[in-house]
Amino acid sequence: MTKVLTINQSVEMGIREFLKFLLDKSKVKGVFTLKKLNKGGDVAYSLITRSDELKDTVPFFPLMPINAGKLLSRFTMNGATSEPVAVVLKPCELRAFIELVKLEQGFLENIMFISATCGGVYPLNMVHDGTIDKNLSQYWTAIKKEEIPPNLRPACKACTEFIPYNTDMTINLVGNKTLDSQCEIFIESKKGEELAKDKDIKKKYSEKESKKKNLDNFRGKREAEKKKIFDEITPKLTGMDGLINIFGKCIGCHGCSKVCPICYCKLCEFESSDSEYGPSHYESELRRRGAVRVPPNTLYYHLGRLSHIAISCVGCGSCEDVCPVDIPLSIIFKKIGESVQHMFEYIPGKSITEKIPLTTFKEKELTEIEK
């Protein structure tokens, strides 16, 4: 049984109303959510402090311009905010942020999370080719019916962690047939309860006990889709040849690491002088191979990045969104990520106290690995 706050408006209006209430009542000093920037339909995360600025917000717009976990890390990197801020974000973004907090890249204090059961988002290129708006109504129809909307990013289609962890409030989006008339906000924490509590609230909002929707059906669909997508990539992961075929077209822009919420290093090891070849290095490689790709280390970069982040990869799909040459990064990283996480029964970002597997160990484990 979870406490639910019901606002008799559409989810979009209702959540705006709630955010307005939070700002107007000074319960928070800022709201961090997606906002339309212009008539062109550009959507970006914004930090809003005045409630009149909320009118253009689109908290559950099916797009992830950049992983909000990464942005929150930038926001709180140099210390917790001294004033409360409400953040509306997707489950994978929240998990990314939790993971970053564990890595000392941000602070949770004074941040209130509003998340939702997530139906997934569209690829970024739908923004510039202008097709995203056309897809919106079909998106919400599918979500209501607990279906996977077509044209979503592969990472989202294959996402089975669509229910947020560590959130203070959750909005039910998936399978919610009353999206257009009712906004139900599930209160999931003490902090959430504090925020929703107010004299005024009673007049405007009704309070009831409700069971969070069982989404096993939807999960099943996602699992099936994930299997399909993984099955598609698996035959391509045939060792060195397969990897060269997949990663051969990489132009080395490292955009994938730049947008990856987990890649938090100041200077990526693969961009450091340690990863450069000196002239003698080239010459010895040439002696052996007869030819060498320049700049080198394409596979080393991707495999190395995998070895660094797979354990914490939240499968948010940002990497693939920005890849200028359409390498199916999100699926490869998700597949590998889940396989290594599974070894330690670890779900990145699920728990704030659980240690990241590579920072700890058990004396009795993995004994089969040694021969």
């Binding site: 000392e104 100041k266 590579l358 920072t359």
Partner: protein
């Protein structure tokens, strides 16, 4: 600077010369970049060999040296010394092991030669990236902070104090002496405890070089071996006064606590009169007044061993012996008394203990092996119900029950472990550095543990540990002598570190701290042991290990597989 690498291949008599085509190795490595000379010699570790190498370095103006010979475990030290004598930094040297791991493992000369070429090339590839490392010397403070004014803390202090070395002895309670002040006699030779402890207290208080702080607690310890800063807070009055001082080492001698039998309802402790703990009995005995609650002298007593052992999961080593000592107390003071000992296993682990036990047995003393026990109080008497060896239920009525509880970590353990960045073992005691070889040292260099704070032990063994701590400090923290830390240590680049603390979490020695203003991790090179765990853990490449840097190893492995 131009590198001039000299490559010297040791024949090691026939050991290498007959198994490896040395000339082929020379031919293969001579044309490599920076190699200015590659040659062979019959036995480089011999006196002539050493002289030869030294002369060669000087004559050829070598800047780097590679020797292909035996295992570094044998002669790395020898050749580094030669480098030093010849005027090049000993770290600009690399030894290729072409004997133990090459010549001696195959009968195939061609294969051995190929491998030797690889190993030598790898050493050359690596040595090119070596940088000179200099031994550092760190000023150190010989003074010592001893926490805990029990017998361990006092013993350590007395052994350490000298005009060149001040000792700050901090005791939480108002008086020195610790748990021993409650005891009448020691086991097994029944010496007088008040005398022993008073002697120590007198020696400590009369020693000008020991400053005692009673009613005081340590509230902060910063720094590292040779240069700690401790803060002590006085609990005397309302306004707490703090004292700070610099010391070179910290001794944790905080003793232990007794398991609280209230936790186990079987013993009736706290519920029934005349069920008392060992410590309560010691005090009663010391006061010369073994009486029941009603003032009468007990006619029968049960001593129950191993109280709390199940819960704690370890044998406390001394309970059997002090229980037997109680038998002696009782026999002395109330000769006609009937004593029953209930035990699970008799633990008498010292050369004289068994004799002590045997001599304490008597007609009126039973030693009964049990596997479970329950104390009830149906009438005036306490009733002990237990299963005997045959599995039969038996009952005894006694006037008094003495519980011999397990020893457990004292309450301050966790706090002090955090202060000193050492770990606690699974039982909650301070964890020693190494179960066998480092019983009184800890993972933080300069922090030592003595006595029951490290685990249950007798007075005798407690004193041994206190003296052991003294030995450790006296041999490594010498007044006027600087500390020479390891040189092959970790370093974290401030500009590349992102402060994720991954390195910090994997370090076993508390070397890495987090600078919260700069938000970067910092490795204390003075206490680093140079394992390199943090380096492999760092995703940014900000951490590096001197002499085992990314580049050095990369070059080595690249040449090895080329």
């Amino acid at each position: 600077m131009d590198r001039k690498i000299g490559v010297y291949i040791c024949e090691c008599g026939p050991n290498i010369a007959e198994k490896i085509d040395i000339d082929k190795v020379i031919k293969a490595v001579s044309p490599l970049d920076d190699v200015s000379i590659a040659t062979r010699y019959k036995l480089l570790c011999s006196e002539q060999g050493k002289k030869f190498l030294e002369e060669q370095i000087k004559k050829n103006g070598l800047t780097h040296l590679v020797v292909a010979a035996c295992s570094p475990r044998d002669h790395q030290h020898t050749f580094m010394t030669i480098c030093e004598n010849a005027g090049i930094n000993p770290f600009l040297f690399q030894l290729a092991n072409i004997r133990e791991q090459c010549a001696w493992i195959t009968e195939n000369k061609e294969e051995a030669t190929n491998k030797a070429i690889r190993l030598t090339k790898a050493a050359i590839g690596r040595v090119r990236y070596h940088v000179p490392l200099e031994k550092k010397e760190i000023e150190s403070n010989p003074d010592v902070l001893v926490i805990g004014g029990g017998i361990a803390g006092m013993e350590a202090s007395l052994h350490l104090a000298s005009p060149q070395r001040k000792i700050y002895l901090v005791e939480k309670t108002s008086q020195l002496g610790g748990v021993v002040t409650n005891l009448e006699k020691t086991f097994p030779d029944m010496q007088s405890c008040p005398k022993i402890i008073q002697d120590k207290i007198d020696q400590v208080t009369n020693n000008d070089n020991i400053k005692v702080y009673t009613n005081c607690e340590v509230t902060e310890i910063l720094g590292f071996f040779g240069n700690f800063e401790g803060t002590v807070t006085q609990n005397n009055n309302e306004d707490k006064t703090t004292v700070g001082f610099n010391v070179g080492a910290v001794v944790l001698a905080t003793g232990c606590a007794l398991f609280d039998p209230t936790d186990d309802p079987n013993y009736g402790y706290g519920k029934f009169d005349n069920v008392i703990t060992a410590l309560e009995f010691e005090k009663m005995n010391l006061a010369g007044n073994i009486r029941l609650k009603n003032g009468k002298t007990p006619k029968s007593v049960a001593i129950i061993h191993c109280v709390g052992r199940d819960k704690k999961g370890y044998c406390s080593e001394i309970c059997c012996m002090y229980s037997i000592k109680f038998v002696r107390y009782l026999q002395n003071k109330i000769p006609e008394i009937k004593i029953s000992n209930f035990y699970t296993d008799l633990c008498l682990p010292e050369k004289s203990y068994q004799k002590f036990y045997e001599q304490s047995r008597g007609k009126k003393n039973d030693f009964i092996r049990i596997d479970s026990i329950k104390i009830t109080n149906p009438g005036n008497k306490l009733t002990i119900t237990h299963n005997d060896e045959q599995g039969n239920k038996k009952s005894h009525g006694v006037d008094m029950v003495i519980l011999s509880p397990a020893l457990e970590p004292s309450v301050d353990t966790k706090k002090l472990a955090e202060f000193t960045r050492i770990s606690q073992d699974d039982e909650g005691f301070f964890a020693e550095e190494h179960e066998k070889l480092g019983p009184v040292t800890t993972s933080t260099e300069g922090v030592y543990i003595a006595g029951c704070a490290q685990g249950p032990k007798s007075i005798q063994n407690t004193l041994i540990q206190a003296e052991a701590v003294a030995g450790k400090i006296l041999s490594s923290l010498i007044p006027g002598k600087k500390i020479e830390p390891e040189v092959k240590v970790a370093h974290i680049s401030e500009s590349f570190c992102i402060g994720c603390k991954t390195c910090l979490t994997v370090c076993s020695y508390g070397v890495i701290t987090f600078d919260s203003t700069k938000k970067v991790c910092v490795a204390n090179e003075v206490i680093c042991r140079g394992c390199g765990n943090c380096v492999a853990a760092c995703p940014s490449g900000a951490a590096s290990l001197k002499h085992f840097t990314f580049n050095q190893l990369r070059q080595e492995l690249k040449e090895a597989v080329l």
